[in-house]
C-alpha cells in the first residue's frame, strides 16, 4: 500500500456529500477526543481478527488494549465475539453491525448498560463499504454522536478519519493512541 495521506475515500467512487470527515493527521488528536468523551463505545468488525498489524499482533489485540485503556465498551459485530473471549476480554455486547448502527442513531437508547446514550463511537474492522453506509446513517441521523474510524482508510462519513494509510503507519498510530489514552 502506498502512503497516500490524502482525504480521498478508499473505494474511489464512494464519494460522500458536502459533509465529509475531518482528517486525523496526528494520532494524538484521536487520543484527545477519546479521552474527552464521556461515554465512548468501540464497534469492532470481523476484519479485526483477520488483519495482522505488527509481528503476531492483530488489529483485535490493539482494540482490546484501547478499549481497556479508554474504559470503553466493545460491541463485536459479525461472528468475532469468540475471538475476544479467547483473548480474555468479553465484549459488552455483540450484534450485527447494522443493529448497533440503528441503536446509536436512536437518541432514546440508553446504551448497553442502560446508563445513557454514547457521545463517541469508534468504528474499526468492518468491510469498507459497510462501514461507509453505517457511518452515513449516523452522520445523517445521529446528530449528537461523534464518530471516529480507526481504520487505515479514509471514511468520509465519519466525523474523523485517518487518511488512507499504510499498515506500518497505522500500527504506529494505534500504538500512540493507546499510549496517550493511558488509562483514562
Amino acid at each position: 500500500m502506498t502512503n497516500m495521506a490524502t482525504a480521498e475515500p478508499w473505494q474511489t467512487a464512494e464519494i460522500a456529500g458536502p459533509r465529509k470527515a475531518m482528517v486525523i493527521t496526528k494520532p494524538e488528536v484521536a487520543a484527545a477526543m477519546i479521552k474527552q468523551a464521556k461515554r465512548p463505545i468501540l464497534v469492532v468488525g470481523h476484519k479485526a481478527a483477520e488483519i495482522k498489524l505488527k509481528d503476531k499482533k492483530m488489529l483485535i489485540d490493539y482494540m482490546i488494549e484501547l478499549a481497556e485503556k479508554a474504559n470503553a465498551p466493545i460491541v463485536a459485530t459479525a461472528h468475532i465475539v469468540g475471538e475476544f473471549v479467547k483473548r480474555g476480554h468479553k465484549p459488552a455486547g455483540w450484534m450485527p453491525a447494522v443493529d448497533i448502527g440503528n441503536r446509536l442513531a436512536d437518541q432514546d437508547w440508553c446504551g448497553l448498560d442502560g446508563k445513557g446514550s454514547y457521545d463517541l463511537a469508534l468504528f474499526v474492522g468492518l468491510p469498507y463499504y459497510m462501514e461507509w453506509t453505517i457511518l452515513s446513517g449516523l452522520k445523517n441521523f445521529a446528530p449528537n454522536l461523534k464518530t471516529i474510524t480507526l481504520d487505515n482508510s479514509y471514511q468520509p462519513n465519519a466525523n474523523w478519519s485517518f487518511p488512507n494509510t499504510d499498515v506500518k503507519s497505522w500500527a504506529e498510530c494505534l500504538t500512540v493512541i493507546i499510549e496517550k489514552i493511558g488509562g483514562k
Binding site: 458536502p18 459533509r19 447494522v98
Partner: protein, 782 residues
Amino acid sequence: MSRKGLNVKIGELETDVGFAKNLEFSIGKIVDRTWEEPMGPTPFPSLTSLRNWDMKLLQRYKPFYMPFCDLCCLCTYGKCDLTRNKRGACGINMQAQQSRTVLLAACIGTSTHVGHARHMLEHLIKKFGGDHPLDVGGLNVQVEAPTIRLVCGLRPKTLSDLEEVLDYAETQVTHLLSVVHTGMEGNNLDFESKVFHAGMIDHLGMEVADIAQVAAYGFPKADPDAPIVDLGYGTISTEKPVILVIGHNVVPSVGIIDYMKENGFDDKIEICGLCCTAHDITRYHNRAKVVGPISWQLRFIRSGVPDVVVLDEQCVRADSFEEAQAIKAPVIVASEKNCMGLPDRTNDPADEIVEDLVTGKIPGALILDPEKVGEVATKLALRVAPHRKKFKALPEAAEVLEKAKECTQCNACRRACPQDLLIPEAMKAATEGNLVKLEDLYAMCVGCGRCESSCPNGLKIHSFIVSAGENKMKDETYKLRVGRGAIQDIEIRNVGSPLVLGEIPGVVAFVGCANYPKGGADVAEMAMEFANRRYIVVTSGCAAMSLGMHKDEDGKSPYEKYTGEFAAGGIVNVGSCVANSHIAGAVIKIANIFAKRNLRGNYEEIADYVLNRVGAVGVAWGAYSQKAAAIGAGFWRLGVPVIVGPHGTKYRRMLLGRADREEDWYVYDARTGEKAYVGPTPEHLFQAAETKEEAMVMIGKFCMRPNDTSKGRAIKLTHYIDLHKRLYGIMPEDIHLFVRTITDIPVTMKDEIIKILEDKDWKETVIPDPTLLPRMIRKRKE
C-alpha cells in the same frame, strides 16, 4: 366477480323478435362461478388498500436509513443537500428521499419482471393460443397461481387469463412510479408502504412469467426429480460450435433450441447460458448447459469459447457486445429492451443476415423474431466456428508475467474493486514470477471488470486473474438440478404441520445475484449446513448456480447429494429469477392448503399468518439488482424476513426490529383478544449480515415464530444455540427472549439455559394464537 367483466342476468326479456327467460351473459370476461371460495376484502388492491398492514410491519420493523448519497439531483432545483435530514427545495427530507429512492429501485425491478412477463405472455399466446391451459403441475398442483389468487382474487386457467393480471400490474407500476415524482409523497413510511406494494406487484409479474412459460414450454412441472444437467465452464464442449445465451427471457433461446432440434443439430451444437436464461434453457432442453452465474460473463466470453453470443434482457453486461467483438464472435440481440446499437434485421431473410455476420459486414444484428433468431444463430454457429477457433482474449501465463511488470502499484485497481481484493499484492507477486496470488483471487472475483477500467496503464487485470485461474475454471464441472417450478400441493400438506408447529425448523431460500463478498462457495456452504440440519432449502437464480458449484469428497454436487423434494433436508431449485414466485407461492400455500385459510383477495390475513407462523427466511447473499430489491419487498409485505450480504447495506436502508424494546413484540391472542408478548420473532424484516457465519446464526434465529409449539421452539433453539456456539464460540445472550415456557428449552441444554434465564430474571409467558389483526380475534375481551 372479476375486475373487468360485465355480467348481465335477465329474468324475462320480451322483444320484437322473441321472448327470453333466465338469460345470462358476460361481456369481456366470464365469471368464475365454479370457485366456491368467497372473495376476500382486497382483490386487486390499490396503492393504499394494504397500507394499514404495511404500517403494522413498519411500526415494528422501522427503517434504518443509510444514505448512499447525501444529495438529490432529480430536478432542476437541485442538487439539494439533504445531509442531516435537511429539506430540499421541494420540501423533502433525507428519510423520505431515501425511501423514495428505494421505491424507484423497486419500481425498476417490478417493471422489469412485469415487462418480461408481458413480452413472454404475448409471444406464448401468439404461438400456443390464449386458450392454452395453465397446467403447472397436473393434479399435483391445484393451487396453480397462489400469488395471483391472493392478490387479484382470480383463478387463472388459461394463458389469456393472465392478461388481466398484467393489466392490473402495469397500472399499479405506473401509479407507483408516479409517486417518485417531485411533489408526491413526503412521508417516508408512506413511501415504504409503496415499496411493499411494488414488491407485491413484482411477485405477480414473476408468477405470470413463470407459470406461463412452464405451461406453454413444458418445463418440469413441480417435479422434485427434475433432470440433472451440466453446470460449469469445464462441461462446455469446445469441439462443437458453441452458442452462448445471456439474460433472462428464454423466448429467443427456445427459438434456437427448436431450430437445432428440428434440423438435427441438437447434438452437433453446444448451447449454454449465463444468468437466468441459462436456467430456463435447461428447463426446456436437458442437453443445454449452464456456464455459471452473472459474474461469469466477462471470463467466459474472453475465454473465446462462444462462437455466437445471443443476448436477451436483464443483467446483460452493457459491454458484452464489445467483449464478443474482441473474440470475433458475432452477436445477436433479441430483445427490444436491449438493442445494443445494432441494426434491426428482423425483416431480412435469415440467410442474408447470416452471410452479413459471417463476412463481418455487420458485427451483430437486432432480430426481434425468436424463430429467426433460432435459424440465424444455428447457421451462424456452424459457419463461424471452424474459422474462429478460438480467438481467445485471455493472455497466456507468460504474457501476464511480463505485463505485470508495467504495474506501478498505484492501488487504483484495488480501490475500484467492490471486494477490496488485494490485486496490487498479486500483481507484485506476478512480477516475481508467482501467479498463485492472482489465481487465489479468481474464486472471489465477481467479474465486474472495474479493476481494468481504473488501471491508468490499461492493464487487463481481470483477464490476468482469469488467466491465472484458468485451470480452476476448466475444472468447473458440476451438476445442477433443473428448476422444478412450483411446489406440489401434497408436499405442502406433508410439511405444513411440522413447519407451522416448528418441528421442521424452517424454510431457507438462497436466492438472488452473485455480488458475493467472498465468492460463491459461501452459498453452497450455507445451503448444505441448513439442509444437513433438516431445514427445507430452496433456491433460484444465480444463487442456485453458485450453490451447485461445489463437490463433496465423493465428487458429488449438492443437487446430486440432496433430494429435490420440498421436504426436510431437501435442496430445491425452483428455477430462474421469475421462479422465485414459487417460493412465495409455497409460503402462501402453507396458509391455504395446510391451514385452510382463504386466499382469494385475502392478502392481509395470509401475510399475518405467514409472519406469525411460517418460519421462512430469504437469503440474498449476493443481491445487487433493482429486481432483487423488488423481490425482497414482496417478501417483506408477505411477512418473510430477508437477509442480504454486506453489500446489501447499499440498498440504503434496513427494516430492523428492536429486541430490546419489549413493547414492540406484542401480538393479539386470537383466542382471547388479550395481548401477548412473543419475543422478537422474527427479529428483523430486512437485515444485512457481515459474514457468512453471522448470516447462518441469523437464519437460525429468524426462523422462530410466535406460533411455534414448545417442541418446535426447542428444536429451533437447539439449532440457533448450536450455530451460535460453533460459529461465535460462545452462548447467545438473548436466549431468554425466545423461551416462553420451560418446555421450550432443549432438553440437552436445560441446566445451562435455566441458569441463564435465572440471571436474566426471565418470566414465563403464554404461547398465543398470534395475530396482529384485531379482526382475527375470535372472542373479544369483555
